[in-house]
């Protein structure tokens, strides 16, 4: 007999805020970028890949992480920018592996360049790290079908917490929705499969929330409340 809602417990909706902190480390050329990248805390690597979702930047569909954006707009090295942009942080089990990948790509580019670029002080790359403050949004979702209505009304930072941040704190590096739905046995296997196919890296949080809402509507909307 599959587990019932009462066995699994409600989905506890949480919310979060990112606190940005300057590390004091800055880079004016690729070698400095590489050297400081090795020295900064891993939360800085995470921030420069994902922090853009929760801070004042216009979404840039061409380049999705701060390293690629800096290389394109400031260093004007599009070869490196493209190589960095294609990195999908979801492919790396942890931020340390992700950091090493970025360092390797920069190293390779340093070997190729004959005349390295030096940018002015006011265009330097500023390494920033972050703290995440997580709090209870005081919303409980008792049944999977309730996700259909609840998700479109979640704050964007809740979506970030449950769908993006979840991947660095859950054992299987999956989102919180799948973790919760898996508690009901195989009943929501198709929904979980569809959730696994949602790529949060190339969409805004607004788009991600809409995608998730449509997905839950499609898979769970037919269930009676």
């Amino acid at each position: 007999m599959p587990p019932q809602e009462s066995d699994v417990g409600p989905f506890v909706v949480k919310d979060c805020a990112l606190v940005a902190i300057a590390t004091g480390l800055t880079a004016q050329n690729l070698r400095e970028l590489r050297d400081h990248l090795l020295a900064v805390p891993l939360s800085s690597v995470y921030y420069h890949f994902w922090g853009g979702r929760l801070r004042p930047v216009f979404e840039d569909p061409q380049y999705n992480n701060d390293f690629a954006i800096w290389c394109h707009y400031t260093v004007h090295d599009d070869i490196l920018a493209e190589r960095l942009a294609v990195i999908d942080p979801k492919d790396f089990p942890d931020s340390e592996d992700l950091r090493q990948e970025v360092v390797d790509i920069i190293d390779q580019r340093i070997d190729e360049i004959v005349r390295p670029t030096w940018v002015s002080h006011d265009r330097q790359f500023n390494f920033i790290r972050s703290q995440i403050v997580v709090f209870d949004a005081r919303i409980r979702i008792d049944k999977p079908v309730d996700l259909v209505e609840a998700v479109p009304n979640m704050s964007l930072s809740s979506i970030f917490y449950h769908f993006i941040d979840a991947r660095r704190r859950t054992p299987g590096a999956i989102d919180d929705f799948r973790t919760w739905l898996s508690g009901f046995g195989d009943a929501y296997e198709a929904t979980c499969g569809a959730l696994a196919g949602v790529d949060p890296y190339f969409v805004t949080l607004v788009e991600l929330r809409a995608q998730l809402g449509e997905l839950f509507q499609l898979f769970l909307g037919g269930e009676s409340a």
């Binding site: 919310d15 805020a17 990112l18 606190v19 940005a20 902190i21 300057a22 004091g24 805390p41 939360s43 801070r55 004042p56 930047v57 216009f58 002080h121 006011d122 330097q124 500023n126 920033i128 790290r129 972050s130 703290q131 995440i132 403050v133 997580v134 709090f135 209870d136 949004a137 005081r138 704050s155 930072s157 704190r169």
Partner: protein, 414 residues
């Protein structure tokens, strides 16, 4: 009195709900902000709104102002210039006045400050207060609103010894951060959408301001609001206007800035601007008093395009204000303007009068584009640069201060 409910109408109810949730663990916390003036200037404007909003969120917030004499303010004005990279030698006797003034203020404020859970000291004026409060119970934070990207090193060395006593610092941009041992939080500035400078205005008021300054409502108008300072490049704006006017002959330019100041350079720059304008009847040079907030608001709303062609800029709140009025901004490619002006979305970044002229022509010929970019600009500010976001970041910062430097802070369920 403006309340959080009023902000919900502008920023969205979810934003206010978020603030309430984040503030819950801070209920009853004694927080004191200290600066050096109750009125005038961006910091006073911010605290005037920030402190009541914190109180409404259940935080026991207070705002204290230190008092000083003429020589104290002479000294701190030189600090301001020196920290922004201008040559400003400060005599030993002025520094003594600065230290003594802080010692005297500490006498009165000490009981309050030593008992507070969190103390925010704004800018350099009250910075040394900390050394006169040895029995402080809470966390002390130095909140620097000044562009510290190129400080005079000798001055920074003098002030840094006080900064080192603090538990944390807050800077507006990453570029302003310094090499310091304590945590350096980053909180960009914001505008208050309900203040006189940014609130909605009736059409009649906008028309009346236009009329007052002789601006033709039937012709396009470009506006730069800023004091007459070389870093704001007002003469470059005039050159850009001239280049654009060759293609858009009906164009008008308004340069609106502060009135007489005690800054001798301001008068010199104003004279240069007048010379460059050369009695062009379509160039309006307006000297406005510091409290002409509604007039500035009306001018921004009356403008077709906003320009902020700075060659050096801290954050550039006039850019934020312009974007909030649904106007694309042609901004200098520098400092905080880069955070706000997103090319082809909220405006254009330029480095020369020629570049500014090109963008003026491009936009003036496409009213639809102005409207489309203006709408994006307003939404961009709504999501990122309103005071509600500023409050949220202060709340997050306070939570982080209380819970330590862990990468992840999970607030307890209650």
């Amino acid at each position: 009195m403006t309340s959080l409910l009023d902000y919900a109408e502008v920023a969205g109810e979810d934003v206010i709900h978020h603030l309430h949730q984040l503030a819950r663990p801070l209920t009853g916390l004694k927080v004191v902000h200290v600066n050096s003036t109750r009125v005038g200037g961006g910091v006073a404007e911010l605290l005037d709104r920030l402190v009541p909003l914190k109180q409404e969120l259940g935080i026991d917030a207070q705002w204290e102002v230190i008092q000083g004499g003429e020589r104290f303010y002479e000294c701190t004005k030189n600090f301001h210039n020196g920290l922004q990279g201008k040559a400003a030698p400060i005599s030993e006797s002025l520094l003594k006045v600065y230290e003594k003034t802080n010692e005297e203020n500490a006498e009165e404020l000490k009981p309050l400050l030593e008992e507070a859970d969190i103390v925010f000291i704004h800018d350099p004026q009250p910075l040394p207060l900390i050394q006169w409060c040895p029995n402080r119970k809470g966390k002390w934070v130095w909140r620097c609103h000044i562009d510290l990207s190129h400080p005079q090193r000798s001055l920074w060395k003098y002030l840094r010894k006080y900064v080192l006593n603090y538990d944390a610092t807050v800077f507006s941009l990453a570029n302003f951060a310094q090499r310091l041992p304590q945590t350096q939080y980053l909180i960009p500035p914001s505008i208050d959408p309900l203040s006189e400078k940014n609130c909605d205005l009736p059409e009649e008021e906008i028309a009346s301001v236009r009329n007052l300054f002789g601006i033709d409502p039937e012709r396009p108008m470009i506006l730069q609001v800023s004091r007459f300072d070389r870093f704001k490049d007002p003469t470059g704006v005039i050159r850009a206007y001239r280049l654009a006017k060759a293609f858009v002959p009906s164009l008008q330019l308004v340069l609106a800035g502060g009135g007489a100041t005690d800054d001798p350079e301001g008068d010199a720059v104003l004279a240069e601007v007048r010379t460059e304008a050369d009695d062009d009847q379509d160039i309006h040079i307006l000297l406005l008093p510091p409290d002409a907030h509604r007039a500035v608001n009306a001018l921004q709303r009356a403008a077709t395009l906003i320009v902020q062609k700075s060659t050096k800029e801290g954050f550039g709140l006039t850019v934020t204000e312009g974007l909030w009025k649904s106007k694309p901004v042609i901004g200098g490619d520098t400092g905080g303007i880069r955070l706000q002006v997103i090319p082809h979305h909220t405006g254009f970044l330029v480095s020369t009068p020629e570049g500014a002229a090109l963008r003026m022509r491009y936009l003036l010929r496409q009213p639809d584009k102005i409207e489309e970019m203006g709408a994006k600009a307003k939404e961009f500010v709504r999501h990122n640069f309103l005071i509600t976001r500023h409050v949220r970041e202060y709340l997050s910062l306070m939570v982080a201060l209380i819970h330590g430097d862990d990468e992840r802070i999970e607030l307890e369920k209650d």
